[in-house]
C-alpha cells in the first residue's frame, strides 16, 4: 500500500472496531469494541450531557431572562461569560475528581457549571435586544411581567437564547469526552485509554464523539426552528 493511503487504512480499522468485537492486546483476552459496547458508551455520554444541560438550563435560563427583563447585572454577566470561557475543562474535571469525588453526580454538576455562562449571558443579551415598543404594547394590554417575559421577550429572542443553549451543549458534550478521568465511562474512554482499546479504538472514539456532537447540534437546530414563531421566520426570508 502506498504511504498516502495509510490514513484511509486507519479509518477502515476504526470502522471495523465499531462494528465487530476484537481481543484487546492488554486486558488478558478481554473483548473490546463492537457495536454493543460503542452504543453503551455513547448512551452514557448522551445521558451525562443531557443531565448537565438540564441542570444548567434550570439554573441559568430563568436567571438570564429575569436579569434581561430588569436590565440589571450586565457587568457581572459579562465577567461571568468571560470567566466561563477561560475555565479549562481538564482542570475542572481534575479538581472535581480530586475534591468532590468521582461518579455521575459530581461530573454532571461540573459539566453544568460549564453550561451556565453561555446560557445566562445569551438570554440576557437576547431579552435586552427585544424592541422596547413590543414590551410597552404588552404592558399596555395588561400583561403581567411574567407573561411579558414568557410570551413576548422569550419568543422574540429565541434565536439568541438558543444560540447560548447550543454553545452550552457543545462545551458540555466536549467535556463529557474526558469524563472517564472522573469515573464516568463515556466514548472518551476509547480515546483516553488507548492502551486498552488500541489505536483503532482511539480513532473509533474520535469518530463517534464527532458524530455525536454534530447530531446533538443538529437536533438543537431543529428544535430552534420549531420554537421560532412563524412570524419571525417570514421576517428573515
Amino acid at each position: 500500500m502506498t504511504p498516502a493511503l495509510l490514513p484511509l487504512a486507519s479509518f477502515g480499522g476504526a470502522i471495523e472496531f465499531i462494528f465487530s468485537e476484537q481481543t484487546s492486546n492488554v486486558t488478558g483476552g478481554k473483548k473490546v469494541g463492537g457495536f454493543e459496547q460503542a452504543m453503551e458508551l455513547m448512551l452514557k455520554q448522551i445521558e451525562v450531557t443531557a443531565l448537565a444541560l438540564a441542570v444548567a438550563l434550570v439554573l441559568a435560563l430563568p436567571l438570564g431572562l429575569y436579569l434581561g427583563h430588569r436590565g440589571k447585572g450586565e457587568v457581572v454577566l459579562v465577567g461571568l461569560a468571560n470567566a466561563g470561557r477561560a475555565l479549562p475543562e481538564l482542570a475542572l474535571i481534575a479538581l472535581v475528581a480530586a475534591l468532590i469525588g468521582i461518579g455521575l453526580v459530581p461530573v454532571t454538576l461540573a459539566l453544568a457549571v460549564l453550561g451556565i455562562p453561555p446560557i445566562v449571558s445569551n438570554a440576557y443579551v437576547g431579552v435586552r435586544q427585544v424592541d422596547p415598543a413590543a414590551v410597552e404594547a404588552a404592558r399596555g394590554m395588561g400583561m403581567s411581567e411574567l407573561a411579558i417575559i414568557l410570551k413576548v421577550e422569550l419568543p422574540l429572542s429565541i434565536a439568541t437564547v438558543m444560540g447560548g443553549i447550543r454553545s452550552a451543549m457543545i462545551a458540555i458534550v466536549a467535556t463529557a469526552t474526558i469524563a472517564p478521568l472522573a469515573g464516568v465511562v463515556t466514548l472518551g474512554d476509547y480515546i483516553i485509554n488507548a492502551s486498552i482499546y488500541g489505536e483503532d479504538g482511539r480513532l473509533a472514539g474520535a469518530i463517534l464523539v464527532a458524530l455525536l456532537a454534530l447530531a446533538l447540534e443538529g437536533l438543537l437546530a431543529l428544535l430552534q426552528r420549531r420554537l421560532t414563531s412563524d412570524g419571525l421566520k417570514l421576517k428573515t426570508v
Partner: protein, 247 residues
C-alpha cells in the same frame, strides 16, 4: 492518615518531592484532608516554566493561523455573497466537533505532537473570527461607503480604508473570544503529545494532584486575562475615534 491513591498520583505528577519523604514526614497533600500544598508549590514552582512557554506558543501560533484563514475567508465571502452561508455552516461544523476528537481524527494524517494540536486549535477559532468579521463588515453604515465612493475610492480602497477600520471593534471582539477559549482548550493538547500546561494537570494516567492542578489553572486564567485586557487596550488604540465597548 495517608491516602495511597493520592500518594501515587502525587508521585507521578508531583515529581521527587514525595519520594524523598516518608509517609510520617509528609508535610501535606498525601494527607487526604488537605487541598493545597504550599510546601510542594514552593519547591516545584519552576516545573511550570517550560509548560507555560509551550502553552503560550500553542495559543499564539494557532490563533494567528486561525485568524489568517478566517480573515481571508471573510474577505472572500464579503466579495462573493453566495459563499457566506456555506462558509458559516462549514466553520460551524468544525466548531462543533470536540477538540479532543479532532486531535485524533487528524492523527492518521499529521501524527502525534504539537502540529496536530495547533491545527485542531486553529480550526476551532475559525467560526468565531469569521462570524465576527462578517458581522463587523455588515455593520458598516452605507453612508460611509457612499461617501468614500463619492471621494473616488475604488472597491479595494473602500474595503481597506473604510470598511475594515470601521469593523475593528467586532473583529477584535471575535479575536478576544477566540484567544481566551484557546488558552483554556490548549490544556487538552497533552493528550496528543502537544505539551503545554495540560501536562501539569494530567500526568499520563492520573490527574488527582490538586496542588499542581490549581497552579496550572491559575496560570491559564492569568494568561487568558492578560490576552483579554491586552486586546481591549489594543482595540482602544486601533479605533481612536470611538471608546472601546465593554461587551
Amino acid at each position: 492518615m495517608v491516602n495511597p491513591a493520592l500518594l501515587a498520583a502525587a508521585g507521578e505528577v508531583g515529581g521527587d518531592f514525595f519520594k524523598e519523604r516518608t509517609s510520617d514526614t509528609l508535610p501535606c497533600q498525601a494527607k487526604s484532608n488537605e487541598v493545597f500544598c504550599f510546601d510542594w508549590a514552593r519547591e516545584n514552582i519552576d516545573r511550570f516554566g517550560t509548560p507555560t512557554v509551550q502553552h503560550l506558543e500553542l495559543v499564539v501560533i494557532s490563533v494567528l493561523l486561525g485568524f489568517a484563514v478566517a480573515f481571508a475567508l471573510a474577505l472572500l465571502a464579503h466579495r462573493r455573497a453566495w459563499l457566506r452561508t456555506p462558509l458559516l455552516a462549514a466553520t460551524g461544523v468544525l466548531y462543533t466537533i470536540p477538540s479532543l476528537a479532532f486531535f485524533f481524527l487528524l492523527l492518521p494524517v499529521t501524527g502525534i505532537g504539537r502540529d496536530t494540536a495547533i491545527i485542531a486549535l486553529a480550526v476551532y477559532t475559525l467560526q468565531i473570527i469569521y462570524r465576527n468579521t462578517m458581522l463587523g463588515l455588515g455593520n458598516v453604515p452605507g453612508s460611509a461607503k457612499e461617501a468614500a465612493r463619492g471621494m473616488g475610492y475604488t472597491d479595494r480602497q473602500i474595503l481597506w480604508r473604510v470598511e475594515l477600520p470601521l469593523a475593528i471593534p467586532e473583529i477584535v471582539a471575535g479575536l478576544r473570544v477566540a484567544i481566551v477559549s484557546t488558552v483554556a482548550i490548549a490544556t487538552l493538547a497533552v493528550f496528543i503529545g502537544g505539551g503545554g500546561l495540560g501536562t501539569q494537570i494530567y500526568g499520563g494516567s492520573n490527574l488527582t494532584f490538586p496542588t499542581s492542578v490549581f497552579i496550572a489553572l491559575a496560570i491559564v486564567v492569568l494568561m487568558a486575562m492578560t490576552f483579554h485586557i491586552g486586546l481591549l487596550v489594543a482595540q482602544r488604540f486601533l479605533t481612536p475615534w470611538r471608546k472601546a465597548r465593554a461587551l
